[in-house]
């Protein structure tokens, strides 16, 4: 054994590109510190924040956002982007609501919603990979198409339904004070973390964000792996949509309207670069928590809607800047 060669156990195959010194510190600690700071701030200044009811409300926010951001994180890791997540959620929500209102399918709608999401993702992925259309454009178009289809389905107005079992999927509380939707979110997040860090699929996602050429020359079926993350993104968006519908017991045209921007914000704030190759699902949870707490806390404080937007936007820019600082490329040779 050569002297100086430590036997280090790599925790994951794809190490996030570690910067040196204070940058590494900034990258990993700042989001967490920000989260803690936010919690402390709101707890201290708004008594209604620290209540059981608010905690429940918070979990109802975190659940869907986490779900939507999960699949989208994988897409972003490869260096692409999926702008259609909000529309897929809305489409899946509309279909779900319609089926629940007009048929006796009951919980089987979950399967339909998932299949729908997968189909949407597949379409985007295929056009992107084989049609060589940049992901930004494909999903931008898909955003409108899926939304249009969803609106047509429900004729532009909310479709209420009454199915306690289904609504329980989201608003029930298996764990007291924690909405079920959050459990779904955390559960799938944990699976996502494992997949991202310990499977070949996950490694390929990071690698594609680094260089597609290298991955292709390494004997990997690249095209397949370019389509998969979009399918994943479609599925998680669809699940987010169906659980949102369960929360409201109705599927409406405004479902998931904030999903796109909030999920992008959550992913970037969490530490995944827009260019891919760095970050991952484990970081997205942090971003989701920050965005959700910010939303909820500002609401509790009675901050006006417009001011909220300004604050949120500022937070996103600052967070992205910090993340970028942590990733400055080192000098090669």
């Amino acid at each position: 054994m050569e002297s100086g060669l430590e036997v280090i156990e790599p925790k994951a195959i794809s190490q996030p590109r570690r910067a040196q010194g204070w940058r590494a510190f900034a990258e990993s600690v700042v989001p967490l510190a920000a989260l803690v700071a936010l919690v402390i701030y709101f707890s201290a200044t708004t008594p209604s924040f620290v209540t059981r009811a608010n905690f429940l409300a918070l979990t109802e926010l975190i659940g869907p956002l986490l779900l939507v951001s999960l699949g989208a994180t994988f897409v972003m890791l490869t260096g692409s982007i999926d702008l259609s997540v909000g529309s897929v959620a809305m489409l899946s929500g509309s279909a779900t609501a319609l089926l629940l209102a007009n048929t006796s399918m009951g919980l089987w709608v979950v399967a339909i919603a998932v299949a729908l999401g997968a189909l949407c993702g597949l379409m985007c992925g295929v056009i992107f990979t084989y049609g060589r259309v940049p992901s930004f454009i494909v999903t931008l178009g898909a955003l409108s198409v899926f939304r249009g289809v969803g609106l047509k389905l429900i004729d532009g107005s909310p479709v209420p339904f009454d199915n306690a079992a289904f609504s329980n999927l989201a608003i029930g509380q298996l764990v007291p004070s924690v909405a079920n939707v959050a459990l779904w979110g955390i559960g799938l997040w944990a699976v996502g973390v494992f997949v991202g860090l310990r499977t070949k699929f996950g490694h390929y996602m990071y690698a594609l964000g680094g260089s597609e050429r290298v991955v292709r020359l390494s004997g990997v079926a690249v095209d397949r792996y370019k389509v998969y993350p979009f399918i994943l993104s479609g599925v998680t968006a669809a699940i987010a949509g169906l659980l949102s519908v369960a929360q409201l017991s109705s599927g409406g045209p405004t479902l998931g309207s904030s999903f796109l921007l909030d999920s992008l914000a959550a992913i970037v704030v969490g530490g995944t670069a827009l260019t891919g190759g760095v970050g991952g699902v484990h970081r997205t949870l942090l971003g989701v928590l920050i965005i959700s707490i910010l939303d909820d806390g500002l609401n509790m404080r009675g901050v006006g809607e417009f001011t909220q937007e300004i604050i949120k936007g500022t937070v996103i820019v600052v967070a992205a800047a910090v993340v970028m600082i942590g990733q400055r490329k080192g000098i090669v040779k």
Binding site: M1, E2, G4, L5, E6, V7, I8, E9, P10, I13, S14, Q15, R17, R18, Q20, R198, T199, K200, F201, H203, Y204, Y206, A207, G210, S211, R213, V214, V215, R216, L217, S218, G219, V220, A221, G277, V278, K329, G330, I331, V332, K333
Partner: protein, 528 residues
């Protein structure tokens, strides 16, 4: 006494992550001198150049220009102080024109009122510069349309141009392995350019090629493990002396036929390429590769050898021909080939071979995740992978503190070793290698040759496609020569004799080629 054009480093020390990269290094360039800097990969040459050109700062020590200590803020500042650099990887912007690249980042000299560029003046200046450097390149051409050699020459011209622009009488130009990616003719042209510019500028030349160093330098410095261990006038240097100083022990037996181990006679044909054609590049090329055999492939630029490797594994559109592995016709596709024990190691490790921002572990495992290193569900076998990577790091002597180090921080030779590990860990039976030791120092080269030879002794077959003629000659049992897409000759090596570079070049040029050259030189008129 301050003499214009003198660049010196005094006591430069630099550490990265706790390991000392430069240790109290002293270095000096006189006016009009060409100084060579040699050392193994990882010895610190590029870091020294980084510090001298303002790209990084030393932890301790000073950079002295014209007798005065300077604190270089960044590369642009270094330019204004008179130091210019031609980087190992091209610093030209591919979609800009030649004249835009020549003057890039110094447009301020051509700004009129309001920041508008005086392009006419830029064009005139560019033409003047190219004329003085005697470079036949159109100023309006897109840079990515130029050949590698032309781009290299452009970069050198750019260095001198900027010194002219900034009114620096005696610039210092740092050349970081300028001819690594060039073939023989291009290399000669570059060295001639340096020779011509010698009077007006001072040069520091980093190179692994001793012929180059001896041909062009006045003085040579030897860097070893971060310390400047020797400096001498070039006349007094010999390859053995330099190697001994660089490595500290008797030079390892060169890769020559005489030292080749007795290898079993070539046996069954492992790879058979028949009638391989690529429109515009290859024409009806057929090659057989047997086990226990190394077949070398050489040719000048335009011979088609650049596409041959990729054509065999199916990455070239429009390629036609039959590929047979172990007697069975195979559809050319990387995964199919890899499943049959064939690997293709790309020639450009930075672009095609490695994910520079990812760890050694990440890179070495990348080509094996789809079969050996994951289970059926796709979960990676961590323990096995970790053991394996560490084993390969020891076997190939990849010097890094842990396997989590990013490949981009490694030197060229170390990166190449990581690339080797990535493909060799698949226990390939057939290897297609492209320029496997490009930009790699002598010591590492010998190590890699040893590895390749032991693979062959165990029965592997290697198709070695390389620009490095001495390498091809030393390693190959048989050498196939390509010219303009066709096989024009095969030279064999035996235990007693091997073809010389001269023989091979003659084959590459063909008799007609030699005739043309002769005619051109003697007739004195324009192109034939």
């Amino acid at each position: 006494m301050p003499v214009p054009g003198v660049l010196a480093a005094r006591g430069i020390t630099k550490a990265y992550c706790g390991s000392l990269v430069l240790d109290r290094v002293d270095f000096e360039v006189q006016r009009g001198e060409v100084v060579g800097l040699v050392g193994e990969n990882g010895a610190g040459k590029s870091t020294l150049l980084n510090i001298l050109s303002g790209v990084t700062r030393a932890d301790q020590g000073d950079v002295v220009l014209n007798g005065e200590v300077v604190h270089l803020r960044n590369y642009n500042h270094a330019n204004h102080c008179g130091v210019f650099r031609v980087f190992q990887e091209s610093a030209l912007i591919p979609n800009l024109t030649v004249y835009e690249n020549l003057l890039f980042s110094h447009e301020a000299s051509f700004e009129r009122f309001g920041g508008v560029l005086d392009r006419r003046a830029m064009r005139l200046a560019a033409e003047q510069i190219l004329k003085e450097a005697r470079l036949d390149i159109g100023i309006e051409q897109r840079t990515d349309e130029l050949s590698l050699a032309q781009r290299q020459a452009l970069e050198i011209a750019r260095a001198t141009a900027l010194s002219f622009l900034l009114a620096i009488p005696h610039p210092i130009i740092l050349l970081d392995e300028p001819t690594t990616a060039l073939d023989a003719t291009e290399e000669r042209a570059t060295l001639e350019l340096v020779g011509r510019l010698k009077g007006a500028a001072s040069f520091v030349l980093i190179s692994h090629r001793f012929e180059e160093i001896f041909a062009v330098t006045d003085r040579i410095y030897v860097l070893k493990d971060g310390r400047m261990v020797a400096s001498m006038p070039s006349e007094r240097a010999t390859p053995e002396l330099l190697r001994r100083l660089m490595v500290g022990r008797e030079r390892i037996a060169d890769a020559s036929a005489a030292s080749r181990e007795a290898v079993k006679a070539p046996q069954a044909t492992r790879l058979s390429v028949r009638g391989l054609s690529v429109p515009g590049a290859l024409s009806d090329v057929s090659i057989d590769l047997a086990s226990h055999e190394i077949v070398g492939l050489c040719g000048l630029a335009g011979s088609g050898k650049e596409v041959l490797g990729r054509a065999i594994i199916g990455l070239v559109k429009g390629a036609q021909g039959t590929i047979m592995v172990d007697g069975v016709a195979v559809r050319p596709a990387i995964r199919t080939m890899m499943a049959r024990g064939l690997v293709y190691m790309p020639g450009d490790r930075q672009l095609d071979g490695l994910l520079l921002q990812d760890s050694i572990f990440s890179n070495v495992t990348l080509a094996s995740l789809h079969d050996t290193l994951s289970n059926r569900v796709g979960i990676v076998k961590f323990a096995a992978a970790r053991r394996d990577v560490l084993e390969w790091m020891v076997r190939l002597r990849i010097v890094a503190r842990t396997s989590r180090v990013a490949c981009g921080t490694l030197s060229g030779g170390q990166q190449q070793k990581v690339l080797f590990a990535k493909f060799l860990r698949r226990s390939p039976r057939i290897l297609i290698l492209e320029n496997p030791t490009r930009g790699v120092d002598t010591w590492t080269k010998a190590e890699l040759y040893r590895v390749l030879r032991s693979l062959v002794a165990e029965g592997a077959s290697i198709l070695l496609i390389s620009d490095d003629l001495p390498e091809v000659i030393a390693l190959s049992d048989r050498i196939v020569v390509l010219t303009q897409g066709r096989v024009v000759g095969v030279a064999r090596s035996s235990d007693i004799s091997e073809p010389s570079e001269h023989d091979l070049i003659r084959m590459m040029l063909g008799v007609t080629g030699l005739q043309r050259e002769y005619l051109r030189e003697n007739a004195g008129a324009g192109a034939v």
